[in-house]
């Protein structure tokens, strides 16, 4: 049984249809990457999985349970956490407070969890009492990811984690994604930087015009010149 | 038959005629006006003959106040309905118009009266001068007030306008030298009141003779004709304006300010114009009010009567729609006066709850109106008449 399955999903915003039938799955512990041109609906798929948009058709299951259209508050309890692309930190809260918000639903002391996040992102440990809004793009991305990891999710969803970052930081972020995955957390990410993300991913999906176009192991997709030409801009 | 019935019917026919002219659109002009005149006269005469004097008198005063509030609501519609300006300080312009008209038309008190009444000025001018002055002064106030505040966004503008209304109220309450505040300013002259008395010397003899049977208590019939005429002029003027290129820009500004600015329209100027035009109309409404109630003080223009009630009228009728504004005004005025009957009818129940409650009837009515507003906002936000699709008459 796959950890996450998305079956035949059709949806959009208001009256505007964006997804025209998307299927994908993520297995335990793997990294799956969704790539494709702008406007393909990649971010929309993420929002739909996480309950921010309701599916018009099709369904989403997580760990065997149908979570289609479930509220984010419930989804988070089941081990699925999400990092949006923009506005992904609480700017007036400190780094530490941002992390605490990630584990709000828990009633236990959070010290151990916070320490684990700080081990993963040592740069954040130095800045734990700084306001998240005053940090650089890369650091903010780390805060956002840290916040999502506080609940020890089984699956972490990342929406364009490398967007707007300098190349050095892009390397760092992808390194961290690999590190996170090594601890057993599955990762589903949407990425504009197709090359880097497919290099990292176990499997990839190419999405265009709201539908799956191609699917396969990351390396295979990377190597396929057709895919590269049509969807990845060469 | 009471000889007063004839002149009364003729006067009552005026608002009915104007109403029919507006409603019967799309017919050829001559036919339309003739038809309207005939039907109006017939209707007025019929009502005068069939209904008891007390009832028809009540209907007249109802139409009168409803029409005055309709003018005010039309003013708000220009500001909010058409331009999206969030003005919760309607009372300021209403009050300023009323007091201006009063001061222009009153004479300065002399002799013994001067001990009781203080005024900043009193020109003893005719009614129409007061009416125009009311509009002008309200417009000037809007200009002064709008310059610093119109650039503010939504909620901030709302608070600023609340502040202005409070400021105006405080001034009329505390500045004795201005308009006798907090005491009422009394004896505001009523236009053409001579017709219900011994006749107006500046009118031809046959007119005086025709209206001779009227007594002073018939004055509302006369005034309703005047008010209906003003309402008619304001309404048709606005309907024209909204279909003009100017009106188009206003609507564009409300829909999408950035787009309007990008097309090169001076958005700030248009907002100011709409604000001022709306204020002028509210001032005119104030003048009509003052000359009807004859004595005014700051309490007439409190947040309920001066602002909230008018917003309820506009929201119920449907904003962005002049017909809706007028309809809403009449409807809500009907509901407001209806609550008076309701509270009277419920008197025994109120007594049972508490002996002091019946005398606090006005506050029960206030609660009912507040509930009405909540009802509208929750269940009928678009009002009774939806915003109409407006087709412009001329190309830009």
């Amino acid at each position: 049984m796959s950890l996450l399955t998305v079956e035949g999903v059709v949806s959009g915003y208001g009256e505007m249809q964006v997804l025209r039938g998307v299927d994908l799955r993520v297995e335990d512990g793997e990294i799956v990457s969704i790539v494709g041109p702008n406007g393909a609906g990649k971010s929309t798929v993420m929002k739909l999985i996480f309950g921010l948009i309701k599916p018009w058709e099709g369904r989403v299951t997580f760990a065997g349970e149908d979570i289609s259209g479930m509220a984010p508050e419930q989804i988070v309890r089941r081990g699925l956490c999400y990092v949006p692309q923009v506005d992904n930190v609480f700017p007036t809260l400190t780094v530490e407070e941002n992390l605490e918000m990630g584990a709000y639903i828990l009633d236990e002391p959070l010290k151990a969890r916070k320490e684990r996040i700080f081990e993963l992102f040592p740069r954040l440990a130095e800045r734990r009492n700084q306001r998240a809004g005053k940090m650089s793009g890369g650091e903010r991305q780390m805060v956002a990811m840290g916040r999502a990891l506080m609940l020890d999710p089984k699956l972490l969803m990342l929406d364009e984690p490398s967007a707007g970052l300098a190349p050095l930081l892009v390397d760092l972020i992808f390194e961290k994604v690999a590190e996170i995955n090594e601890t057993g957390v599955a990762v589903l990410m949407v990425e504009q930087n197709a090359k880097r993300s497919l290099e990292l991913a176990h499997r990839g999906y190419v999405l265009a015009t709201g539908k799956n176009q191609v699917e396969g192991p990351g390396a295979q997709l990377l190597g396929d010149p057709e895919v590269a030409r049509l969807y990845l801009g060469g | 038959m009471d000889p007063a019935v004839l002149p009364r019917s003729v006067l009552l026919a005026v608002p009915l005629y104007l109403l029919l002219v507006v409603v019967l659109r799309g017919r050829s002009a001559l036919v339309k006006h003739a038809l309207a005149a005939v039907v109006a006269l017939a209707l007025a005469a019929g009502l005068s003959l069939l209904l008891p004097a007390g009832t028809i008198s009540y209907v007249t005063t109802f139409l009168l106040m409803g029409s005055i509030y309709a003018v005010l609501t039309l003013g708000l519609n220009v500001q909010w309905g058409y331009t999206g300006l969030f003005n919760i300080g309607v009372a300021a312009f209403f009050a300023v118009g009323a007091f201006t008209s009063a001061l222009f038309t009153l004479k300065m008190p002399t002799g013994a009266a001067a001990a009781f009444t203080q005024q900043a000025f009193g020109f003893g001018a005719p009614f129409w001068v007061g009416l125009l002055a009311a509009g002008v002064v309200a417009g000037v106030l809007a200009l002064v007030v709008g310059w610093p505040t119109l650039r503010l966004r939504g909620d901030y503008l709302a608070i600023a306008t609340i502040g202005i209304a409070e400021l105006v109220r405080l001034v009329f309450q505390n500045e004795r030298w201005l308009a006798n505040g907090p005491q009422p300013l009394r004896g505001i002259p009523q236009p053409l009141s001579c017709l219900t008395g011994s006749g107006c010397d500046w009118l031809p003899g046959f007119v005086n003779a025709f209206f001779d049977p009227l007594a002073p208590r018939d004055y509302p019939y006369l005034y309703v004709a005047i008010v209906a005429l003003v309402l008619f002029l304001v309404y048709t003027g606005l309907e024209r304006a909204i279909r003009s290129p100017w009106g188009r820009v206003l609507r564009a500004v409300r829909e999408d300010e950035d787009a309007a600015a990008m097309v090169g329209k001076n958005v700030a100027a248009f907002r100011m114009q709409a604000f001022v035009v709306g204020a002028v109309i509210m001032g005119i409404g104030g003048s009509l009010y003052a000359h009807y109630v004859v004595a005014i003080d700051y309490g007439h223009f409190d947040p309920l009567y001066g602002t909230f009630l008018i917003w309820v009228m506009l929201m119920l009728g449907g904003s962005g729609n002049n017909r809706g504004a007028v309809l809403g005004a009449l409807l809500v005025w009907a509901i407001w006066t209806g609550t008076s009957f309701l509270v009277d009818a419920l008197r025994p129940t109120l007594e049972a709850i508490s002996p002091v409650l019946p005398q606090r009837g006005p506050y029960v009515r206030l609660l009912l109106i507040a509930l009405l507003m909540l009802f509208i906002v929750l269940y009928r936000p678009r009002g009774v008449l939806p915003e109409e699709k407006v087709v412009s008459l001329t190309r830009d």
Partner: protein
């Protein structure tokens, strides 16, 4: 930028002027200027230093009460993105609920050195959660539905006005339109603070209690989970949902805290001055002036704004008709909006 031409002198000058004008310091400067004008005007009118000092002290007092209301307004605006025009009437509600409670309790002797008995304190303790619950209840029935529909701000504002008038009408119906007092004919001890400035001990209590509540709110927002969640929701409501924060529960606590503060503020104001059904509506303008001056949504700003407005209000009575006090607050607010619309604590320089 390569090849960019320098801006024409006039445009560069205008930009420089507006950037200076919009800075935080120019707003502070404006307030200092107002203070200077007030001092000059009052000395020109021969107002004594003692009186001025006394007015400043009264202003601080009033500021404490305003702060309680302003905190509620700013919290609600931050978390719910709504300008609550009914907040003044929540204060009225608190004041009159206390009157009702105190009328059924047997009156006691004055508490040590103050002008009120135990029943006032009992009412204080009861009224705060009561008003909080009423505020939450009203939200459930009206504002929440509008939020879910993503209604335009004008609808929310009209709903708030409807609630405001509704509460006021009920107060009128139950208590009538006359003034009311918590205590009449009871001696109200006075104490001299310094150099001839006198205050009532009640007023010291009011200030102390206001400050205590303010400290509690600070602790709530900085140290408690719910308080941090309130700040998180004010920052980014979508992310708050995404993080799994139970937003409805946070909304509940926002109204409880805001309502409780309003109820306490109303009671304290009633103790100091008097009760009238319009008391809260008349405070609405100074409340919003405080909040806007201190940047809407910013808790510290609300405090700063409240004390500033309170002082300006009281001090202006030295040379204008005291009835115009709220008007002075209004003028300061307008000037602040013109110079720096984002307020003292807002973003930017």
């Amino acid at each position: 930028m390569v090849g960019a031409r320098p801006l024409p002198r006039s445009r560069a000058l205008r930009r420089a002027v507006s950037s200076v004008l919009g800075s935080r310091w120019s707003l502070v400067g404006l307030l200092a200027l107002i203070a200077l004008v007030i001092v000059l005007a009052s000395s020109a009118q021969g107002v004594s230093g003692t009186r001025m000092l006394g007015l400043v002290v009264r202003g601080v007092l009033l500021g404490g009460v305003l702060a309680l209301g302003a905190l509620g307004v700013t919290l609600v605006h931050g978390v719910l993105k709504m300008a609550n025009f009914a907040h003044g009437d929540y204060m009225t509600l608190g004041a009159y609920l206390a009157l009702a409670i105190m009328s059924v309790l047997p009156p006691g002797r004055s508490v040590f050195g103050l002008g009120f008995g135990y029943e006032f304190l009992v009412a204080l303790v009861l009224v705060m959660p009561l008003v909080g619950l009423v505020a939450y209840g009203l939200d459930r029935v009206t504002f929440r539905r509008l939020r879910q529909r993503r209604s335009a701000p004008v609808m929310m504002a009209m709903a708030a006005l409807g609630v405001a008038f509704g509460i006021r009408s009920i107060v009128y119906m139950v208590f009538g339109a006359d003034f009311a007092f918590y205590y009449q004919g009871r001696p109200r001890p006075v104490v001299e603070l310094f150099s001839g400035v006198r205050v009532r001990t009640d007023q010291l209590f009011i200030l102390a209690f206001s400050l205590a509540l303010i400290v509690l709110v600070y602790l709530l927002l900085e140290r408690s989970k719910v308080g941090k969640a309130m700040r998180a929701m004010a920052d980014n409501p979508d992310l708050a949902r995404i993080s799994g924060i139970p937003t409805e529960r946070v909304v509940f606590w926002t109204w409880m805290v805001g309502g409780a503060l309003a109820g306490a503020g109303g009671m304290l104001y009633g103790l100091d001055v008097q009760l009238r059904p319009e008391m809260g509506w008349w405070l609405l303008l100074p409340l919003f002036a405080s909040v806007i001056l201190g940047t809407i949504g910013n808790v510290y700003g609300a405090l700063l704004g409240a004390f500033t407005i309170g002082i300006v209000w009281q001090v202006s009575t030295a040379f204008v008709n005291p009835a115009y006090g709220p008007a002075a607050a209004f003028v300061v607010m307008i000037l602040a909006l013109l110079v720096r619309p984002q307020g003292l604590m807002g973003g930017g320089r």
